[in-house]
Amino acid sequence: MAITLGIDVGSTTVKLCLLDGEKRLYSSYSRHFSRVRECLLEELGKAAKFAQEVQPCLTGSAGLGLAQRAGLPFVQEVQAAYGAIRKLYPSADVAVELGGEDAKIIFLTGGVEQRMNGSCAGGTGAFIDQMATLLGISVDEMDELSLQAEKVYPIASRCGVFAKSDIQPLLNQGASKSDIAASIFRAVVDQTVTGLAQGRKIAGQVLFLGGPLFFLRGLRKAFRETLHLNDETAIFPDDAPVFMSLGAAMHAETSAAMPMSELIARIGRVETGEIAVGQPLFSSRREYDEFIARHMRSDLRFENIYSYRGDAYLGVDAGSTTTKLLLITPDNKILFSHYQTNNGQPLEIVAGKLRELYSLMGDRIVIRGACATGYGEEMLKAALKLDFGIVETMAHFKAALHFDPAVDFIIDIGGQDIKCFKVKNRAVDSIMLNEACSSGCGSFIQTFAAAMGMGIEEFSRLGLFAAHPVELGSRCTVFMNSSVKQAQKEGASVEDISAGLSSSIVKNAIYKVIRARTPDELGEHIVVQGGTFLNDAVLRSFEKETGKEVVRPAIAGLMGAFGAALYAKENTPPETLISSVATEAELERFAYSAKSVNCRGCTSHCAVNILTFSDGRRFVSGNKCERGAGLKVVKEPLDLYKFKYETLLSLPQRKGGVRVGIPLQLVMYEQLPLWTGFFETCGFEVVLSDRSSRELYFKGQHTVASDTACYPAKLMHGHIESLLDKGVDFIFYPCESYNLDEHDSVNHYNCPVVAYYPELLKANNDRLTDDNLVMPYLDPNDLPSAARALRRALKKYRIPAGVVKAGLREGMRRMREYHESVVAEGARIMREARAAGKRIVVLAGRPYHADPEINHGIDKLLCSLGLAVVSEDAVFEAGDLVNVNVLNQWTYHARLYRAAEYCSRTDDASLVQLVSFGCGIDAITTDEVRAILESRGKLYTQIKIDEINNLGVVKIRLRSMLAAVEELHRRGA
């Protein structure tokens, strides 16, 4: 029998397997660092020792193109695996395979089904690599650490960008790395369950395949625990890493035999395919030199810290991935600067550097003022007693003003975020921050460089003189990964990819974050900053894309710290001779311990981190309200969201009779009064689903069919499960194409998800039947047809027509009453806010944003910042009717435009729009709401929310907004 060779060329690895019939002759597994062909040829050379002639078959994502070009047989990888599983593990029920960038699941029994991850789905090997880089450890170390975990935090696993924004605050708050490592693995499992299984249960004997599942014990443990598997039902085969190549080898029985030498020659001959390429960054060395010389001009001068005598000001920027310190003289010369990856421990780094500073300064230099900024601002201020703290956007703005007083546009690309400000009249006019899904920031290049086995400097230098930079598109990390994968497959060089990534980052920033249509919109005097711009390839790409010469200060990476230092200098009163920052003696004794606990202040049970310092002081973070921080609670918060939520929960009153379950989510956040009114009139008892929570979400997670739907919709699955568990007689959830007609828009639709979600629930939850889910199609504007539909749907209960109609009328009355109470309470809140001199925030979203699990306590956060919070439904009727550019045809969205109109002419009210991630309709409304506000000179702030529960970023955004509003007022006054 001939020898067969399976070749699996994946996104990160090459796997080979030589089979002589059933007997395994040779197998190998190696990372290709994107040098696919070279690596493959090398591995084939090694395999050639074991066989002269083989029947080959390729598989894997990068194998597809290779097979076509070299004229070799190919089998799709899941097919390859399927065949091998059938032969080797006939008793397996499900197989899960995680690869570099793909995740697959095969259901083998009870209807064969094979699934791969969609195009926007992390939770793969590359995701794990990315997370390890973020933690600053190797994947093996992460695995080791995860086994010692005591606690698992919720982390979004949909894509790397999301997870990062979950993990970063945990790191900054001092959560232990072992807990985070375990949480990352848990996130991968959750992703597999929701993203891949999509409503089908993973049960029975489960086979785990692919490299990550073989090498990472922590990941295996997480799978076993989550899926409740034991030694017999969870199988981790020894050949897991090379399983696909084994499958391909089995499949190769029908391939034509060829000498090994010919196979190698054919693959060696494969030519580079066509890929879209752009212009080189520099056409000549001279151009490069001129570019370098021009940027050398924007620099600060230095002062010798060893000889200088006098005052100094300290700025500390504890960013998401890096920590920056800058000590300046009163005439802005640099005495000392420091830039370091914080490895998740900013506090230790800053304390260490302060010690170093004290020893350098001796008694010649006195720190008169110190200011902290960045993610870790509050913690640093508390731990090391810095005098000031400012929100990072303001720090960056201050620093940019120093370099170009005429600056009208600032863009800062850091490790994790992109910040842009437009400047008018020396005040920040608008702020744009990147959304979780249009990232592609500095750490992205870093991760890529690491994947290619080199440091970031080396990697970006390679791009400078690339002849044909690859066009990689301008979207999020996951997409770029697959674009890079394709470019590699087509044979693009590392140089071209490096240059292509730089240009992607720039395009992403300009067109996606800033949303500029043409580069001219940015402005004339542009200052670029942030560590990423120290990368000359990125800087050059930016200048090429905008066609403008920009200012990049040599301290681009230290601008936050510089701005903080300037702030300290400007705000230190003349009578303060020495900063309150921890003294040398205090630093000597300085130590802290971190602990994470669940706050018991209220029902939210926030996971909070407590740092206890050696002098007994404590710092609490992760809390959503003052209660967790141990502060005095605002007695009567001016918070309409709280009022709405509590009012709704108290609605069902009647006990006894048939029990009808109503899931409190989506449309029910407004129509609950209608349906309790209806059912209670008909003599039923209304039972509400459990309150939304992360746990509730997990409860229904296995029935989620589309993982890119919005979080409110995905939460609905948990609500349904909770109602089923309560044993209600049936669940009521109507389908409504049309929402209430409020006579202010062209049409009055619901969004498709709100309108038809019951269909999806029924189709994907085994426990739901025609009997226990009553989902009539009705229009709340037309009582006769709605009454007919209800009567038909509830015919089992024989409700007389008159009672149905009376019930509907009572329901409508209660809904009006509820709405009036919201408006009245909103008016009261605004009155009291005005009396107390507080600003009002119209937190504008949809009715279901009142759910604390969906808004993540943003209302409480706003209150803690000293603001009064009302919702869009309380104010829109005070707004004018509006004519807008878009087709105004959804009820909830029409309210947004009118609420914006109201805010645009109400001096002490600011609008903050809440947008659920994945809401396609808000892609249309946000631009329009922004336009309404900006046409009347008001700031627009948008907060995108998802299942991630990270208020850090939100807080920065809100504080920036407040600072900008204050700035505008100061100037206006």
């Binding site: 598109g473 038809y756 999806l760 807008v884 959804w890």
Partner: protein, 428 residues
């Protein structure tokens, strides 16, 4: 109540009737066959229409620059194509307009007109947008509707459906390469001439000549895997939107099957009738919709009779499609392609096309429910059906999409045990 109106609309140019004489009207590449007929439908009414064919990275890049990140992919393709065309130098921006269809449903697609206007405003503020709709939207800047135009459009849809269906039935099996394409060209030439001469009403003779022409194309006797394509209307049909899905399926040795456009039109009409039935939304237009439905459905049945007589498999009867829909989803799901998608999948399963690509733009809202969300129920009714949802997106790589389709094909082939010999890719 506050009745004051604040106007936040931008000024935009409108398409005035006089512009028919001066302006070239650009039409996006959506249905290559149908739109060539529409060119003549509108041409006879004085519009100089030009279906666009530009493609490539620069089209997508223009789209990315001008369309919101979270807006749908079709909007991005259409807008990218307009801007790329306007920048190509082939058209004088002062004498060019762009045309878009609008359904007025509860999905974002109804907002294409404002999205296009926004995009044009940045670079070609003088270019007017012309809306083609039957819902009375955009009165100041729409194609003037008349009974004659509606009737001609109906014929263009039916002839286009027939030509498209015949073409994909013959193409995979043609003995001489290019024979199906040549036949399509000659049929389209005949049809276009009929529209130009105002003789498109010769329904039977035009249908029969098309059927006859295609049945005369010599074919090989061989069995190929049929792959049905359903999904969001733009990515389902548009080669630009679906990365030339039909060509890919042909190159994989499959027979692609596209549901006819008339299904979608009938679906839109029926939704209005359903609104009257479910929600008491009766008005003057209800009667018109009823008449339109009878007329159009009658034509579809007539067409099917002719196809059957010519020995071919008919299009799926629309009333039958509605009955199939009722098995899996409620006909109240009317946004986007709504209940039509599961109904078409069920119809495919019933008629032996068990392998289905469900094409959807990434993040398409209605498709959460009627695409991915309905697969499980369909599988309960039709255990052998093999559905792969594919997301189309400006940056999702082709490898990714093709790999998923290949997975489906591989599964289909191993289950049907058909031996395929295509190149060296033997799968038993």
């Amino acid at each position: 109540m506050n009745e004051h109106i604040s106007d936040f609309t931008d000024d935009y140019p409108k398409f005035t009737p006089a512009m028919k004489k001066t302006h070239t009207v650009l039409v996006p590449a959506m249905l290559p066959i149908h739109f060539r007929l529409f060119k003549h439908v509108l041409g006879r009414r004085g519009y100089r229409v030009e279906p666009l064919e530009n493609e490539g990275r620069q089209v997508i890049d223009e789209g990315l620059k001008h369309v919101h990140n979270d807006a749908c992919f079709p909007a991005l393709c259409v807008i990218g194509q307009y801007l790329d065309a306007l920048k190509s130098g082939k058209y004088d921006p002062d004498r060019t307009a762009v045309l878009i269809t609008q359904s007025g449903g509860g999905c974002r697609a109804s907002n294409y007109v404002p999205l296009i206007r926004k995009a044009l405003k940045a670079e070609f503020p003088q270019v007017p947008v012309l809306s083609f709709n039957f819902s009375g939207l955009e009165k100041g800047s729409g194609v003037e509707m008349s009974l004659g135009l509606i009737r001609s459009s109906a014929f263009a849809i039916l002839y286009g459906d027939l030509a498209m269906t015949c073409y994909y039935r013959v193409k995979p099996y043609e003995r001489d390469e290019g024979a199906a394409d040549a036949c399509l060209e000659s049929c389209l030439a005949r049809l276009c001439a009929a529209f130009d001469a105002g003789k498109e009403g010769a329904f039977r003779s035009l249908c029969r000549s098309t059927l006859k022409a295609f049945s005369a194309v010599p074919v090989r006797e061989e069995e190929k895997l049929k792959v049905g394509v359903v999904g969001e209307i733009y990515v389902k049909y548009s080669p630009l939107g679906n990365a030339h899905l039909a060509d890919f399926l042909l190159s994989e040795g499959c027979e692609p099957v596209f549901p006819p456009l008339c299904d979608f039109v009938l679906y839109c009409i029926v939704n209005n009738l359903n609104d009257a039935k479910f929600y008491g939304k009766r008005g003057k237009s209800t009667l018109l919709y009823r008449v339109a439905y009878r007329y159009f459905y009658g034509k579809q049945r007539a067409l099917n009779r002719m196809i059957r007589r010519a020995g071919g498999a008919p299009l799926h009867d629309f009333e039958d499609l509605r009955a199939l829909a009722d098995r899996v989803i409620h006909q109240g799901v009317k946004m986007g392609e709504g209940w039509l998608i599961p109904a078409e999948m069920a119809a495919f399963a019933e008629t032996g096309t068990e392998n289905i690509v469900c094409a959807q733009p990434f993040g398409c809202l209605p498709n959460h429910i009627v695409g991915k969300g309905a697969i499980r129920v369909l599988k309960e009714h039709y255990p052998n059906v093999n559905i792969v949802p594919v997301d189309f997106d400006p940056s999702a790589s082709k490898v990714n999409q093709e790999n998923r389709i290949k997975l489906m094909l591989g599964a289909a082939r191993s289950s049907s045990q058909i031996l395929f010999r295509q190149g060296q890719n033997k799968i038993s």
